[in-house]
Symmetry: D2
Subunit: 294 residues, 4 copies
């Protein structure tokens, strides 16, 4: 499925500021990029950094003007891998690999260490990791109200449990934290989401089950198969759209657009009962099938 | 310098529990291991995991008995690299590499995003990153009281600023958080520390300056050149001595021993003004000298 | 019903310390005291303070010795007023009086301002304030695990929602906070509780409905009609057993005893459906009956 | 000194909402009111409540319309009592009266229980309570940056220590918390402040020394003798301009005006070294002089 994406960002800064931007789509086996462009006005000192662990593409920009505009565009051929849900349900709790260990530990916005009892109390009874994760996603959808402006940059999963309000970032953090509390590795993902209204950067989360990173979105604001991944990490701290070192004088302003072909058919909540979606070709279906047999 | 290390840990658990232990010394160019042994009583299902990003050595142990004892021992030839402090002072603020980016972002126990103003107010005036980092370390030593039992597993740098009390873990978290708030990448390190009284696992922190990871310890409880590194990460969440998934019925009990040769001469606070210590051979002295010249 | 109460407290302090103790039973229309005694060993400078708003009896003790022992004893004729639950259910939401206003606002350990959504989501559907309050009490009982040592002196209702563990103090704080979030005034009460095992100081809460302060205890650890009130306030900060200004070198040690006559019959959870219990003769049954009619 | 005050408030609500407003000037021996008016448009069900402990004047308004405007006006003859600072310095630490006890305990936004070490470390060395309080006020002025929008309704003194930014409310909370941590009773006061730019509701704090409630303002945004008190309490929770039970659809909008006679001469920071200001005629100068002698 081919997506055409554009993003225009505008910032105001008081003094020389260094911005770390994470707005480029992350190339992968399942995301093929073409016609990528990134323009900074006025032209500024810049560097591209690719993180070691997650392979996210950052742009470091040294802003010396009072205002700066960043224009990004790309066309992405994205394949959303479908995985048989029943197969996932049969997978025994995986013996965790070393590379997923960091996603099991608590992080800045996902204090899984403090959600242990809550997670087991609410989701411990479900028999498979996949059903636990589906139920976590449903519970967040039912419990947390989507309220723009209700939270801020310090809000964490610990807060959202109690305050019951937030935006996509908060929904995803809570999902990540609850998974980790149940010993299911989980990470935070950012992306461009087709049909999200109003268009904006979006966040969701991935849970590691049977060797797959399964994509989940408790907000239900956009279909999972319209999600094009920018980056992934332990939480929003790793893949913030913009981390500024210096003083910003106004909140950033965005304009986002993501177009899909006309034949796009949204993947629904109902579909998730039969199949899971992954944007990360970590595991091979064959390997999972084999595990399910063993 | 050759160190002989032994650690004996004892845990009690109510139910089947999976432990992730991080007590093995991390082998590196500067730490050569010999005679390593790791015994679990009673014998339990185990696996060794080496993390991708930091190269920490974890042992995953599935405990099915009510009690478990872990005996670890190793001999380490550790070289503490000395770096000319004046050279470091001349190094221009390095253009950060991609691999240090994760150590610039806030983490579970190091909420650098909320310490920005405090850090600049107190340490912004020092002219070089090395002097900022030395002053951070001194300030923590003066301000935070070493009080065993004053903090718990949820305590973070944000708390320690206000509560002014803690243990080595809290001192290190605050150091890491303040460095990151000043745009200096920093990470948390754990280790065995010669001359620490009473003997225990220890924690310190590393700041990234001029291509080096510089070792710092605001507690002043043990000489820097007696520190043998176990692991490193964003904060204690990454290198916890023991992360348990399940219910522990009592706090763990430890016995630690680390011996050094008789000719051991402690590296003092005074020494730090002239030279910095690194346990990570990331950069070459030549490269730094070159940077200082340019 | 006549209760014989004794309490012996032992503290160790490093330096001269001033203690504010709140261990005396609060005399009231429904609690008549006799044979009260309060002995301090060694004898220390002391003063008795009765708070203006809540009428709690404090003892201020200036401790100049390393250790101090306080022996308190009293006999209390306590009447637990029974109020027809159906009558309470018919009472329209009372127009709040000025004197209950402070118990509607958030306090140190009861951040009702942050629990608004949670409270309405979970308890908003119940038709009467009395049923909301009963359901809050049941929900806390089901959700929060009684775990001595799980919390500390900083733990608040905000934490308990997420951590799902605590002691009587935490159960009561959460009850208070949820009531206030629903616009029901609520306060924290401390007391001696007959049949509490092991004997200890106890905490519960009171909700203001139809002009009555209704006693509630989400721990279910002791019968409501065996509760003798020491003090009441916005939360534990107001009626802490011991507030110390100075440095304590060890946690306090207590020995508590409360005896009741042989014919004591415990008031059960079942009973609460038919009648409510109040220890505060604020309103007259006649007045409530009248309100219910109007 | 005669002040003419007017305040116009505008709120938008989604559903029936009950507002508790605290915008009326609190009458006292030192504040004599005349020409008071309070108009609500559209006219709504209302009641006036005077709190027991602090004597604050609240208006309870049941809003059933989508928007509501409140117009308040009053003329106040306010006397700012001057107290000789040297006399205060000589007053021995007062043996606290029962009526100030509540102002010694931690409250929602003033977690003095967690600031004990910080307070003693920074201010313990000053010899008199008055000098401690002056230094607390200066330290806050130097350390905390006045940044509108930097904080929100959940921000507490605990946060402000670390985040070093806030508005008048945050400055006052921190002052209150630090005083209490030093065993000096302190309370939060709100008022209309002449010469505050832009005109707005203002907050400051009072410390209890030698039987006086001394007025202090760490923001230095308006002269102390231009402050007309609305209310006082443990913190902002007690004297919030507007506590809403229900859903507000937009932040409140205010218009405030406070005029003073032409001969108004501002009381400066310099003046505070010689005299303290009190708006509360609790103690008599004679009594203080006597204490200072004894």
């Amino acid at each position: 499925m081919k997506f055409k994406i554009s993003a225009s960002l505008h910032y105001e800064a008081a003094t020389p500021v260094t911005l770390f931007l994470n707005i480029r789509v992350r190339p992968s086996e399942l995301q093929t990029l073409s016609k990528e462009r990134f323009k900074i006005t006025p032209d500024s000192e810049r560097a591209k950094l690719v993180t070691e662990q997650d392979g996210n593409h950052f742009d470091r920009v040294k802003v010396t003007s009072k205002e700066v505009t960043l224009d990004y565009g790309v066309t992405v051929e994205a394949e959303h891998q479908l995985i048989d849900a029943d197969l996932l349900r049969k997978v025994p709790a995986s013996s965790l690999d070393a590379q997923v260990l960091p996603y099991l530990f608590p992080s800045r916005y996902c204090e899984s260490d403090r959600l242990y009892r809550l997670a087991w109390q609410k989701f411990g009874k479900f028999s498979s990791a996949y059903d636990q994760v589906l139920e976590i996603t449903r519970w967040i959808y039912r419990t947390v109200e989507y309220v723009p402006g209700a939270t801020n940059a310090s809000t964490s999963a610990y807060d959202t449990v109690t305050e019951c309000a937030g935006v996509c970032r908060d929904f995803a953090h809570l999902g990540v934290a609850l998974c980790r509390a149940l010993s299911i590795p989980a990470r935070y993902v950012t992306g461009y989401a087709h049909r999200l209204e109003p268009p904006d950067f979006h966040a969701a989360f991935e849970a590691y089950i049977g060797g797959y990173w399964i994509l989940l979105d408790a907000t239900r604001l956009a279909p999972l198969n319209g999600f094009v991944q920018i980056g992934r990490g332990r939480d929003a701290a790793d893949v913030s759209v913009c981390t500024a070192f210096g003083v910003m004088t106004a909140p950033g302003r965005y304009e986002i657009d993501i177009e899909a072909p006309k034949n796009f058919e949204p993947f629904t909540e109902e579909d998730a009962l039969k199949a899971a979606i992954s944007l990360d070709p970590t595991a091979k279906p064959a390997a999972v099938a084999e595990k399910a047999k063993s």
